[in-house]
């Protein structure tokens, strides 16, 4: 009765229902709701909402996930451990998990500044300084690759791949370290070699 006396109320109710359904991704199981454009609803806003409602469910779901599907990789193997109600695991306390490694990384990076400028200023480096430069670059590279492995191969998703890359990187660093030792002892040194190739 109230709705006959006050048509504004009906319109508000209809608007509210329409807007609620615009944002929902499910098709209603009630057929009358999915019918387009009722005659009572003459306002353009309301009508457009109902037109969108008349689209098939799959299209509306796709539109809700607004961006296009761009899988750069196939989905990784899915492993579901526990339930959604489990507490987050607390990692065991370890004094080396502080900020020491962060400070160490920065000291290595900052140490590379004078070592990089020196060969440009002096023309080349003596064998000791060259060896120090090589070792610092090796540690800096190792830390950088470690961060990349940590970021892109999470243990939670790819535990075996992570172990493979973790130890593969350590092996590679040792191999490269030995190779550079050979180069430093048998050849002219990295800075001098780059200089000679650059001016060749």
């Amino acid at each position: 009765m109230a709705s006959i006396v006050r048509p504004a109320m009906l319109r508000q109710t209809c608007l509210a229902t329409a807007s609620k359904r615009t944002f929902s991704t499910k098709l209603s199981s009630f057929p009358a709701i999915n019918k387009p454009a009722a005659s009572v609803l003459s306002r353009p806003v309301v009508r457009s909402a109902f037109v969108r409602d008349a689209l098939p469910g799959a299209i509306r779901v796709a539109a809700f996930h607004a961006s296009g599907r761009q899988p750069i990789l196939p989905p990784l193997p899915q492993v579901i451990n526990g339930t959604a109600n489990d507490a987050a695991p607390v990692p065991p306390a370890n004094p080396s998990h502080g900020s020491y490694h962060w400070t160490f990384e920065r000291l290595i990076s900052a140490g590379l500044i004078p070592l990089t400028i020196a060969p440009f200023a002096a023309g080349s480096l003596n064998p000791t300084m060259d060896a120090i430069l090589c070792a610092t670059i090796l540690i800096h590279s190792h830390i950088g690759f470690e961060s990349i492995v940590i970021d892109y191969i999470p243990t939670k998703r790819l535990p075996k791949t992570r172990v493979l890359f973790w130890w593969g990187l350590r092996l590679a660093t040792v191999v490269v370290g030995v190779g550079l030792y050979e180069f430093e002892t048998n050849d002219v040194g990295v800075t001098e070699a780059i200089k000679r190739i650059w001016h060749a």
Binding site: M1, A2, V5, S29, F30, H65, S67, R69, Q70, P71, I72, P75, Q78, V79, I80, R106, S109, A110, L112, I113, T116, I137, L138, H140, S141, G144, F145, I148, A172, T173, V175, V176, G177, V178, G179, L180, E182, F183, N186, D187, V188, E192, A193, R196, I197, W198, A200
Partner: protein, 189 residues
């Protein structure tokens, strides 16, 4: 309006004096059409017994069909994140080359490769001029960018010049300095 008000009040009085009559009235007016409607839309529901292993398999299969979350292309290209990404990319390229050379030099006697400085300098010297300049530029570009952008990162680690506008400004300074110094190293050095 007045008629509506009068009906409402009499209904309230009726409900207060005789609750059972009121509830019966409500039932007669509203519940009956609802009952008819629900009888028209019956859906037979079948259930299935399932072991935990089976339901786990279904969940795993379902997760592989989930929509892929949007990738980097949805973000507006901006100096802070582009430069930060390039810092990692250029660093990986430089370190990757460093690692490839170090490992290749170690195994070169086994395969008969000539990776000593004299041979490499001779091989590089025999290239045409344009190719030499292009190679130098391609090598110098990641080196200069990573070096100068690394200074920027170290400044932030000291807690300095980390305002958004400053970050964008220093980013462009580094970009300009990278191109200029790379051109200098490729053409003049």
């Amino acid at each position: 309006m007045l008629a509506q008000r009068a009906t409402q009040q009499s209904l309230r009085r009726l409900a207060a004096s005789n609750p059972s009559t009121a509830s019966r009235m409500v039932f007669k007016n509203f519940a009956a059409p609802l009952a008819v409607g629900s009888s028209m839309h019956t859906r037979p529901v079948t259930t299935q017994k399932m072991t935990p292993a089976d339901s786990y398999e279904i969940l795993v299969a379902q997760r592989k069909l989930r929509p892929v979350s949007p990738h980097l292309t949805i973000y507006q290209p901006q100096m802070p994140w582009i430069a930060s990404g390039l810092n990692r990319i250029t660093g990986s390229v430089l370190s990757g080359g460093f690692y490839v050379f170090g490992a290749a030099y170690l195994v070169s006697p086994l395969f008969g490769w000539h990776l000593d400085s004299a041979s490499m300098a001779a091989a590089f010297g025999s290239l045409p001029m344009a190719l030499k300049v292009a190679t130098k530029f391609v090598v110098a570009l990641p080196f200069t960018f990573h070096t100068m952008n690394g200074l920027r990162h170290l400044t932030w680690d000291l807690g300095k010049s980390f305002a958004n506008k400053t970050v964008i400004k220093t980013g462009w300074v580094v970009t300009g300095a990278t191109i200029a110094s790379s051109l200098y190293l490729a053409l003049l050095a």
